[in-house]
Amino acid sequence: MRAETLRLLAGLVVALALVLPLVPLAIWSVAHGWRFPDLLPQAWSGKAWALALSQRGGVLESFGLTLGIALATTALAALVGVPAGRALGLYQFRGKRAVLLLLLAPAILPGIALVLGLHDLFLRLGLVGSAGGVILAHLVPVLPYMTLVMAAVFTGFDTRIEAQARSLGAGPWRTFLTVTLPVILPGLLTGALFAFLVSWSQYLLTLAIGGGRVQTLPLVLYSYAAAGRNDVAGAIALIYLLPGVVILLFTARRITGHSVGLELRP
């Protein structure tokens, strides 16, 4: 009983710690003037939301662009990360440690160093200032997460279930779709979640490689915050939170779900 109460309390504290910082953002987004020492704004206004949701504000356009970039980055990361993770998780080969270290490098290196090097390279390749260039650039910090998660998934993967499917006459594509994919899906979703959120939150890399022309949501948010427009910044910040929350709600159950392939090993 007491342990359960404690657990509930701890849960509440964690939830509060996560939600409390968002309260001022929500209030700011509907405030018309909120100055010290007032506990609440002098007046309420829908102006910030009207601007954030209007065609003119460019926030919605930016939302779509950011979403597209994050989804494309995630898809590309999965395309590369699943086979790479399989190789790393299932096979021993010479230089495996070196490969792992190289994979981890972008996640360990300071972002600013990465940006400077990439910017020069991308300039020479003519990739600066386009959404495509930004997607490619996002892959650099995103891939380590995807590949390492998939490597961990495949470490516990039993290839004999694939062999069984093949022996029963399934082709490679069908084996992947009906046998391998369901087993790795929770891991893949976790990796995709990381990939999406890492891409979604890129600021410096987008600014440099996008040359200011690829206006993702973090850039728009920062430009209002830097100008002291707390009301508009509050509204954009809440919009910015949306995908993370939605994805988490949809995937939380699947990620923690059990699957058969991972339990076959003795």
Binding site: A31, H32, G33, R35, F36, P37, Q42, A43, S45, K47, L51, R56, G57, H119, D120, L123, R124, G126, V128, G129, L207, G211, G212, R213, Q215, L219, V220, Y222, S223, Y224, A226, A227, G228, R229, N230, D231, V232
Partner: protein, 414 residues
């Protein structure tokens, strides 16, 4: 091309649109020298269908909508030019972007077609040959600009030399809440006394913040007994003498500043927030129109008023500049010409639009535009430009600015 349009097949329309897109994309006008040999009409013809990527500070949504709605609307309707406003937070980042493009050998396909700029950033661009120069007389509305005014012909003491086109003029002013401080000090000596008499109620952003830097220059002028001896090229002996006095004044003030001067705001936005919350009694800005905007947005109380100093405040002009590697120079020139027109200058001078002071001589504009300017009443929180102009101080050359900023860091902000 016409033949495709005559076919009334719906399937072909997207194709025709695509073809049009590709033809306009290839007709770039990166070659500035060729443009200089053309007449204005030829340049306008070259500009049609072009796209201009204008990198500009994006922190004020009324300025943004003036550009995205009014300016972009006119450009589309009259010249079929698409204006793509790219919001930025610091022009110095864009100067670095263009510099790295130059280093990477990108001389005719740059990212930036137009940039809102002045001061040190202009000096950097001019010094590194990053600006397209010597074309401004081609713009018909250039005739509205009084180039004999040294405050327009020089950008922070650096001769403009046809490398940029003036857009707005601004003059530094202080803002105070009349409900909190009814009678603010009206000169620098008075302000220094006020700060000492009201500990913790004043601060300024640490240079090299643009606004903090200009505040320190006002103290510098005060220490020098006026700017006259400081104009012209950098003079080390004079700098040493005046700066010693300036640092003495500022260090003496430090214990009376907000948080006893242990820390300074790093941006004018932070100062504005301290002012909004009543922690400090004054904010200040190079563009007093910002005070009216802050009140309109509900950030500041309606009792905010603003004023200049009896010993004068510093004024400057801000400009638009076309980088050397812009691929859309003709269209960017058309944008600059439109920005300079009496009508566009009047529109942005309107209080509800922006409240920005014009960079053109009002007397040279049409009678309707002049009447429009005369009809502007102004925001009660914004000191009138004519009142400020009665005591205007010039900006120093950029070498002085960097010396003062470095000196502040070493002697005051340490």
């Amino acid at each position: 091309m016409g033949a495709i349009f005559e076919l009334e097949l719906p399937m072909l329309r997207p194709l025709a649109a695509l073809l049009l897109l590709t033809t306009t994309a290839t007709a770039d006008t990166a070659d500035g020298e060729a443009l200089k040999g053309m007449t204005w009409d030829q340049i306008v013809t070259e500009a049609r269908g072009g796209t201009v990527n204008w990198f500009m500070w994006g922190g004020a949504d009324n300025i943004n909508s003036y550009v995205s709605d009014y300016v972009a609307g006119q450009l589309k309707a009259e010249y079929d030019i698409t204006l793509n406003r790219v919001p930025i937070t610091d022009a110095a980042e864009i100067v670095n972007l263009i510099l790295s493009e130059k280093e990477a050998g990108i001389t005719d396909a740059g990212t930036v077609d137009l940039i809102w700029i002045n001061g040190e950033n202009f000096r950097s661009m001019k010094a590194a040959d990053l600006a397209f120069c010597g074309y401004t007389t081609l713009l018909p509305n250039d005739a509205l600009v009084n180039w004999d005014n040294p405050a327009i012909a020089n950008d922070f003491g650096v001769p403009v030399d046809g490398c940029e086109v003036p857009w707005n003029t601004v003059q530094f002013a202080f803002a105070h809440d009349s409900a909190a401080v009814a009678e603010p000090p009206r000169d620098m000596a008075g302000l220094i006394d006020w700060i000492k008499a009201n500990p913790g109620r004043f601060t300024y952003p640490a240079p090299p913040d643009f606004t903090g830097s200009v505040f320190v220059r006002h103290v510098f002028y005060h220490a020098a007994g006026g700017p006259d001896a400081l104009l012209g090229p950098f003079d080390q002996a004079r700098f040493d003498e005046v700066s010693a006095k300036t640092w003495a004044i500022l260090n003496e003030l430090e214990p009376f500043l907000w948080r006893e001067g242990a820390t300074y705001p790093t941006t004018v936005t932070q100062l504005n927030e301290l002012f909004a919350n009543g922690e400090v009694a004054f904010s200040f800005n190079y563009d007093p129109a910002q005070f009216g905007l802050a009140v309109q947005d509900g950030l500041w109380p309606e009792t905010v008023r603003s004023y200049g100093l009896a010993d004068g405040t510093i004024g400057n002009t801000n400009y638009t500049l076309i980088p050397f590697n812009s691929p859309n120079k003709a269209a960017a020139m058309v944008v600059q010409n439109l920005l300079l027109s009496g009508e566009a200058q009047l529109e942005k001078a309107k209080t509800e639009v922006w409240g920005a002071a014009p960079a053109v001589e009002i007397g040279r504009t049409s009678a309707e535009v002049q009447a429009g300017f005369a009809a502007i009443t102004g925001h009660p929180s914004v000191v009138k430009a004519e009142d400020l102009a009665k005591a205007a101080l010039p900006e120093l050359q950029a070498d002085w600015l960097t010396a003062i900023e470095d000196g502040w860091r070493a002697n005051v902000g340490n």
